[in-house]
Symmetry: C2
Subunit: 268 residues, 2 copies
Amino acid sequence: MIKRTVFFISDGTGITAGALGKLLEHFPATNFTQIRLPFTDTLDKIKLAQGSILRAEEEDSVRPVVIMSVGNVELRAAIKHSNAYFIDLFNTFIDPLGLELAQAPLTGAGIAHSVMGTKYNDRMEAINFTLNHDDGMTNSGLEEAQVILVGVSRCGKTPTSVYLAMQFGIKAANYPLIPEDFERGTLPAVLHKHLDKIFGLTIKPERLHAVRNERRSGSFYASLDNCKKEIITAENLMRNAGITWADSTSRSVEELSAIIMEKTRKPT
Amino acid sequence: MIKRTVFFISDGTGITAGALGKLLEHFPATNFTQIRLPFTDTLDKIKLAQGSILRAEEEDSVRPVVIMSVGNVELRAAIKHSNAYFIDLFNTFIDPLGLELAQAPLTGAGIAHSVMGTKYNDRMEAINFTLNHDDGMTNSGLEEAQVILVGVSRCGKTPTSVYLAMQFGIKAANYPLIPEDFERGTLPAVLHKHLDKIFGLTIKPERLHAVRNERRSGSFYASLDNCKKEIITAENLMRNAGITWADSTSRSVEELSAIIMEKTRKPT
């Protein structure tokens, strides 16, 4: 497999530049080493970065890729004295967008992820809400929830809720469907008045069996038979209640969250 | 203030395209309306998107910005029949990077955020670990933690821990510093052997007072005097223990996490 080193160089957190690292998944035949260099905001730090770029080139026998977001024009030019393939967010995006908007961009460090950023407080409040309403922990304040996820234990409700809160500022509660719900055959009573914001998750029995076995190996709870039975019952229950659901088996929390946002039509 | 609508059009989750939305913070004089259109993977959906683009243009009296990540070449071309300023991640990034790598990119939908993505399982495991080790909930398994955050109650430990886990797959525990620690004047005993992975957070008294007052208005706990005293004592305690800390008052969780990654030198 071909090796390549990719540097994310930023005068701020490097998070926007780093997000583009996801695009490397489009090139599965290359084995990427990803190195983040945040807060690279002085000539000294840029010299250190250049040393790392040179060493990576020697090691891989091919020039590295540098994805960079640096506002200061002199620092930007200095980095480019290195031998690398540069993707410069200012050259490529921000400056041309400034022309379109007829507005000069701010070039200070760390603009994108400051606490002044759009909706920051909403996101922090959503995280607190979501952690306080994980796993049916409390029924109080459910009217504040924007989404309530339901599904059998260990089907992915918690990480999906946390992602919805962190990424989109959505107050996402989650509620497990448990044996007493299956016996009764209906959703927990407290959820009945919130049907419009409930979204279901399901999972393939084999996968659930594997996940539960990691924690409680050999238990009835983790047995394939019990997993099958719980899932069939939970899906019937959701169908009868008219709840839309998605299968988490081969979907990431990013994909599940995007589906949930789409289906529940929350403004972002 | 000038109004502009920005569309994020993707055949997948739209998360990578959406991350570039952070760059809009560089243009504070424009009032952006951001609209995400994930899973836009058929001609029908593109026609719907084009209707929305047209309505936005009419409403704003200026053409919208479209940030797009669509693998299929025909769909890509179809979108561009609209009147908009296009930032096309394939044209701008992926295709040129493919030339540099001498490798054709995968063009299927939703490549970047599939469960096959790099380190996905590590991230999910880190989230579970972090939620189970929030707020000093348990001492068991602390040897598995990669970072342990300490600080006074409500200084930002929880959202920062969750962000470290979600974004970087870091197992981040957090431990509150509480009155009995202050009386004793040392860190909780259980933390002594983990000094190398402890990072401190602090906060300005006025800000802590405001945050605590939201939940427990008028309490001794929330009083400015108590906040001042706790913070001075906590900082002394961290100083004596040789713990590096950062002030969360005017920093986002993204900034704090980048600082923590930098100072504790975790590989990403």
